[in-house]
């Protein structure tokens, strides 16, 4: 490819959020990029995408035909579940088990709450159908599926308004024959009904979680199909000829077809993209031990990277009746980046609890009415209000000056709800709000690190999202992390992550055998079969250089939770039970500190993941704008002080590589604000990252 042509190749990453659709147009040859933000059109999200693409391409003089890659992340699936906007969906189960979806796992998620409620099942009892058949855990068929009964059942469902059907039969993870027979009948009798098989979407033992996943996939599928069809048509009509790729919850991207077959895997598409960007930055920094910290308006999300990679698991939950209480939602067996979500965002509300202590969140002012300082009717004090009162945020330069913040309203809200009742000065109350919010994020981070036996001092914080850079140094110091890195474009990291994500897909198969009795030939054969299936799913993988990774889910006999253990294919070929057990125990020891050589090791599932790096590798370098970075100073109150001090303010876009700062300092950019506390050291590296070395004292 000659240079002139390369310079005209612009990649498009587009991320649909609840309020805004963010687009990043990026030219890898020149490093030029352009960000675009348009309002999300919730009833026809593709319109926002098409509008954003046109708006971004035109000023650069780029023709849509010159775009070689469009990568898309969307909240469509998550919102469809949350708003119950899916299609009429039927469920088929083994006779006697149609209520499993409603019985759940029978656990109260909050043992101190006598009044716990749960989300209604996605598929109500009238839409659940049972069929006489039975397969056992050892794959044997106890009762064969009667073809006549199968046909009668399908005809009955075809006579309803169902557009989709979820089929989840007992032990289908071990023997999918009956599920496949039913699917074949649907294909002949009712081809208009989209069919999801549990043996396909989540072939793992445990009927409730598998059924929940199967039901959710079927429930969202018709809507996702229609959306993707409209989007592809619209892109074509706009002159875009490149294939469309979809971002999955585990940070891989796929062409449209697999995404349409497994739409539930899109459920965490947006948050995963931010983690991908953090992984890419970690690689560039040469720093594999990273805490990715994404703080927005409603929540903060944390992912821990070791050796440059965030943990992936098949263990998600959506539609919680209590947003931050695990167990109050619908479980999904979906490969995803492991994220911890905390109710501490810019919009989290501060209040005094029954003990007379200051609390922040989990209730949030959301985008509307928003913090009091937005002047949209919010009257309760939030973290953002505290930041305005303390002088951290510039009321005249929020979102690059597109929005004004009202300091007086912020102060009044804090006075009424916190300072007044506690008899504190307003500014001290604001400091208290920041301290509590910081401590909550820090606790979650500390627990997450130590649960995996990791030493915080070896970790770097990568902070992004609208509010992340403001709290980065404080959180890093409180947890004891060595430094905080704030990359350029920290406010739009997710859109960037879309472009950096590899093409990737995962498949699994249930084994449920003791390691000592593992059927080696069959296991190796299954690795091969899934690898072949992946090539069919992602034809591009065939052209390589694709990486195939193998893993086993393992546990000690008697344990409930498994650990995902990466294994070499050769170990299976060599019947290497000892190598596999050693690998399991190496990982087990990291999590639990101690292994138990006397116990039997069980293998629950095997997994194969194919990955092809085709996105942007390497970080986006930042070219400073040639202008004076100094923007004067403003009074700012920091923790431990009784009076504000004059704090210098800088234009982030104009800071050159090699610039060194000693706090206090505030750095402003359009989508975010960075706080360097008194005594913190900071420098701009050659890529434009701001690296803060916090002084020892964190929030106490």
């Amino acid at each position: 490819m000659n240079e002139a042509r390369a310079e005209r190749r612009w990649l498009v990453g587009v991320d649909i959020g609840g309020t805004f659709t963010d687009l990043l147009l990026f030219n890898p040859a020149t490093g030029r990029h352009r960000a675009e933000k348009v309002l999300t059109v919730s009833e026809a999200p593709e319109e926002g995408v098409l509008r954003a693409i046109k708006a971004a391409l035109a000023p650069e003089g780029v023709s849509p035909a010159e775009v070689p890659l469009v990568v898309h992340g969307t909240t469509l699936v998550a919102n469809t579940l949350l708003q119950r906007a899916g299609a009429p969906t039927a469920l088929v189960t083994t006779a006697g088990f149609g209520d499993i979806l409603e019985i759940r796992n029978e656990q109260r998620y909050d043992v101190y709450d006598l009044f716990s409620t749960f989300p209604e099942p996605l598929i109500p009892v009238a839409w659940r159908f049972e069929v006489a058949e039975r397969v056992l855990s050892d794959r044997t068929v106890l009762r064969a599926l009667d073809p006549g009964e199968a046909r009668a059942l399908v005809e009955r469902i075809a006579g309803t308004e169902a557009k989709a059907v979820a089929i989840c039969l007992l032990h289908a993870y071990a023997n999918p024959a009956h599920e496949q027979q039913l699917k074949a009948v649907f294909e002949t009798v009712a081809p208009h009904v989209l069919v999801t098989l549990s043996s396909n979407i989540a072939p793992m033992a445990g009927e409730y979680e598998r059924m929940s996943t199967t039901a959710a996939n079927a429930y969202v599928q018709p809507r996702v199909h229609e959306y993707l069809r409209r989007l592809e048509t619209g892109l074509g009509a706009a002159g875009v000829r490149s294939p469309l790729y979809m971002m999955l919850s585990d940070g891989g991207t796929t062409p449209v077809a697999p995404a349409a077959a497994y739409p539930i895997r899109l459920v965490e598409s947006g948050p995963a993209a931010g983690v991908i960007a953090a992984e890419e930055l970690s690689r560039m920094l040469g720093q594999g031990s990273v805490v990715a910290f994404d703080m927005g308006g409603t929540t903060a999300k944390i992912a821990v990277l070791t050796e440059g990679r965030a943990l992936r698991s098949w263990d998600l939950e959506v539609c919680r009746t209590h947003r931050f209480k695990k167990g109050s939602g619908l479980p999904l067996l979906v490969p995803s980046v492991e994220l911890v979500e905390i109710g501490a965002g810019g919009g989290s509300i501060a209040h005094i609890d029954r003990l007379g202590l200051l609390r922040v969140g989990p209730e949030s002012a959301e985008a509307f009415p928003g913090p009091a300082c937005y002047g949209r009717g919010g009257t309760r004090p939030t973290v953002t209000d505290a930041a305005v009162v303390l002088g951290y945020l510039n009321p005249e330069f929020f979102l690059g000056g597109r929005m004004r913040l009202d300091r007086d309203r912020a102060a009044a809200a804090i006075q009424e709800h916190v300072a007044g009742p506690m008899n504190w000065p307003v500014r001290q109350a604001a400091l208290g709000i920041i301290r509590i919010a910081t401590a909550q994020m820090a606790e979650a981070m500390r627990v997450h690190l130590s649960e995996r036996g990791l030493d915080p001092r070896r970790f770097t914080l990568i902070a992004f999202g609208g509010a992340g850079p403001l709290h980065a140094a404080d959180v890093a110091a409180t947890v004891g992390l060595s430094r905080a890195v704030i990359p350029p474009m920290a406010g739009i990291m997710s859109a960037l992550g879309l472009l950096q994500a590899p093409l990737s897909f995962s498949l699994s198969h249930a084994l449920n055998q003791p390691l000592s009795a593992l059927p080696w030939e069959a296991t190796a054969e299954m690795f091969d079969r899934l690898s072949r299936q992946l090539v069919q799913t992602l034809p591009l993988v065939r052209d390589g250089p694709a990486e195939t990774a193998y893993a086993l889910d393992m546990k000690y006999d008697g344990q409930k939770r498994t650990l995902e253990v990466p294994v070499e294919r050769e170990w299976v070929e060599a019947h290497g039970a000892a190598s596999i057990r050693a690998q399991f125990e190496r990982i087990y020891e990291v999590f639990h500190g101690r292994v138990n050589p006397n116990l039997v090791v069980q293998v629950a599932n095997l997994k194969v993941r194919a990955t092809l790096h085709q996105g942007l590798r390497g970080w986006v370098s930042h070219t400073p704008v040639a202008r004076d970075p100094r923007r004067g100073a403003r009074p700012v109150l920091f923790d431990g002080m009784s009076e504000p001090m004059a704090c210098p303010v800088f234009d982030r876009y104009a800071l050159r590589a090699g610039t060194e700062l000693v706090g206090p300092a505030i750095l402003e950019e359009n989508e975010t604000t960075i706080l360097v506390r008194p005594g913190d050291r900071a420098e701009v590296d050659r890529h434009g990252n701001l690296i803060i070395y916090p002084h020892a004292g964190g929030q106490r």
């Binding site: 409603e102 006598l114 606790e443």
Partner: protein, 529 residues
């Protein structure tokens, strides 16, 4: 309002959060490292950080509240046997005496002193229901505690971090699966190490000499708030009474709740005497512990449990009654007494706090199944929940465990681990009690043996509410009782006891279990609340 000059309000909030996070971290480690199905599936465990006197400072967010109140009783009792001066860094104490610890032998209590700069600042403690403790495997038909397994007196499990080999041998010689049991004790000791390390780090970071100032601030703040919550209730005494299934005769539960100037007393006087022929007795420590946990949940659920929350409570149970049974009474299924008392407390308190309580939940009890397949022994444990009680706020949820954090075992996992074949698991619609708000529905599960396997499989069980249903509240009706059918023959509680508290399945036997529905709330047909 400064509670302690040394710790301001914001710092107190930050430190309290930190301690809860420490307990959560320890609980997560214990949960994941345990191989006990009862810990792993049923969450039957807890951990705690205590002060030097053993008073509880924090518990995990998610663990069994039944253990909350007894931690300080147990720790104090251990210190009477083994004084503070006799403890060294790395020591871990152990005890499962039902009269000192948690009321029955499988719940084993471990405590480790937290040393900071050479002196003890507090204890890391934990309780977990181990896979096996020897003896009769949770049979209800035992007469004395000696039949129920190994009773471990207060002693050192680890001495300066090393196994106390005599104690290890005693345990290993007395249980069926010694490797699994010892593994679980190590899982507990591992959780203690996390607490010890984190507490030391936290004290260092905040420049504190010990936990005392922080603990006192937490206790004082919690106690004040709990007393304030009690003062919101009208003073006086309210009573409730209920009959529930006993071993032969019904258990009569009398509860009198007295509110008097910031204190609340629960008095069980008038309840049945201790049971001489069945293992349904509760030692006082266990009665106290579950009672204060219930009161805390009703009155101040948003404040994390600690010694201060419990300080305003008094629990009275006459010695020799089923709520204060003496050694050597059999205690294995002591939940029959204490869990069934919870709804009676709520029924009494309905008179003074009608929006904070629920009607009686349908409580179903637990099941083991054991036998041999091709000469190899298997043992599995499973539970099915009943329906929750309805309340002034709304109907009871169907199929939910109460009062603990238990969860059910998946059908597919039970079938993988045993020769059981489950034929059906479905909601018993309409089994919740009638009312303005209906009680939650129970469920039925049908167990058979996998074809070609003839058994026998022994199923020890302790189903609650076979005779007496979950009562309704405020005019609501009771839920449907639990039922056990063997091949369509309804097995009464008496018949079950005559068979030693266990049914034996052979060949094509079908065991059908119906769990009880929850009680309804308010008279049916009355206008919406």
């Amino acid at each position: 309002m400064r509670v302690d000059a040394a710790i301001d309000e914001v710092t107190l909030g930050v430190l309290w959060n930190r301690l809860v996070a420490v307990a959560d971290e320890a609980a997560a480690a214990l949960f994941r490292a345990s191989v006990s199905v009862i810990v792993g599936e049923v969450f039957d465990f807890s951990c705690a950080v205590t002060d030097r006197a053993g008073r509880s400072v924090v518990f995990p967010t998610k663990s069994m509240p039944l253990f909350n109140g007894s931690v300080e009783i147990t720790t104090a009792a251990l210190l009477e046997h083994i004084p503070l001066e006799a403890l060294a860094e790395g020591d871990t104490l152990i005890c499962n005496d039902p009269w000192i610890a948690s009321g029955h032998l499988p719940d084993v209590f471990l405590a480790s002193p937290i040393f900071v700069r050479g002196s003890v600042v507090g204890f890391a403690a934990s309780i977990a229901h181990v896979t096996d403790i020897g003896g009769s495997l949770r049979r209800i038909g035992t007469q004395e505690v000696y039949e129920e397994g190994l009773r471990i007196p207060p002693c050192k499990f680890l001495v300066r971090g090393e196994p106390n080999t005599d104690v290890f041998s005693f345990i290993r010689y007395n249980v069926r699966v010694p490797d699994m049991v010892i593994n679980d004790f190590y899982a507990q000791a591992g959780a203690h190490r996390i607490i010890q390390r984190r507490i030391a780090e936290t004290l260092e970071e905040f420049n504190l000499d010990g936990l005392d100032a922080l603990a006192e601030a937490i206790f004082a703040r919690s106690e004040q708030t709990m007393r304030a919550a009690i003062r919101e209730l009208p003073a006086g005494t309210c009573r409730a009474r209920a009959l529930t299934d006993g071993y032969i005769d019904p258990v009569d539960i009398h509860v009198a709740v007295t509110v008097d100037d910031g204190t609340l007393t629960v008095d069980y006087t008038g309840s049945s005497d201790e049971c001489l022929d069945g293992a349904i007795n509760s030692p006082y420590a266990c009665t106290y512990s579950e009672t204060v946990a219930m009161l805390h949940t009703i009155l101040l659920p948003e404040v994390p449990a600690n010694h201060g929350c419990f300080a305003p409570f008094r629990v009275v149970a006459p010695e020799g009654s089923i709520f204060n049974a003496r050694p050597p009474r059999a205690v294995n299924i002591r939940t029959r007494a204490v869990f069934m008392a919870d709804p009676v407390i709520m029924a009494a308190m309905h008179a003074i706090a009608p929006d904070r309580v629920i009607a009686a939940p349908g409580q179903a009890g637990g099941y083991h199944a054991h036998g041999h397949v091709d000469g190899v022994p298997f043992i599995t444990f499973f539970m099915q929940s009943g329906g929750m009680g309805a309340s002034a706020r709304g109907p009871g949820m169907g199929c939910l465990f109460f009062p603990g954090t238990m969860s059910t075992s998946p059908v597919e996992i039970i079938e993988q681990q045993s020769p059981l074949l489950i034929d059906r698991k479905r909601i018993l619609r309409g089994s919740g009690g009638p009312g303005q708000h209906r009680g939650g529905d129970g469920q039925e599960i049908v167990l058979t043996l996998r074809p070609g396997y003839e058994g026998p499989v022994t199923v020890p069980m302790h189903p609650h509410m076979l005779e007496f249903p979950a009562p309704g509240l405020a005019g609501g009706g009771p839920g449907v009782v639990g039922k056990i059918f063997l091949n369509d023959h309804r097995v009464s509680k008496l018949e079950l006891n005559q068979r030693g508290g266990a049914l034996v399945m052979r060949g094509r036997d079908r065991l059908n279990i119906h769990t009880p529905g929850g009680g309804g709330y308010g008279a049916p047909g009355s206008p919406p609340l």
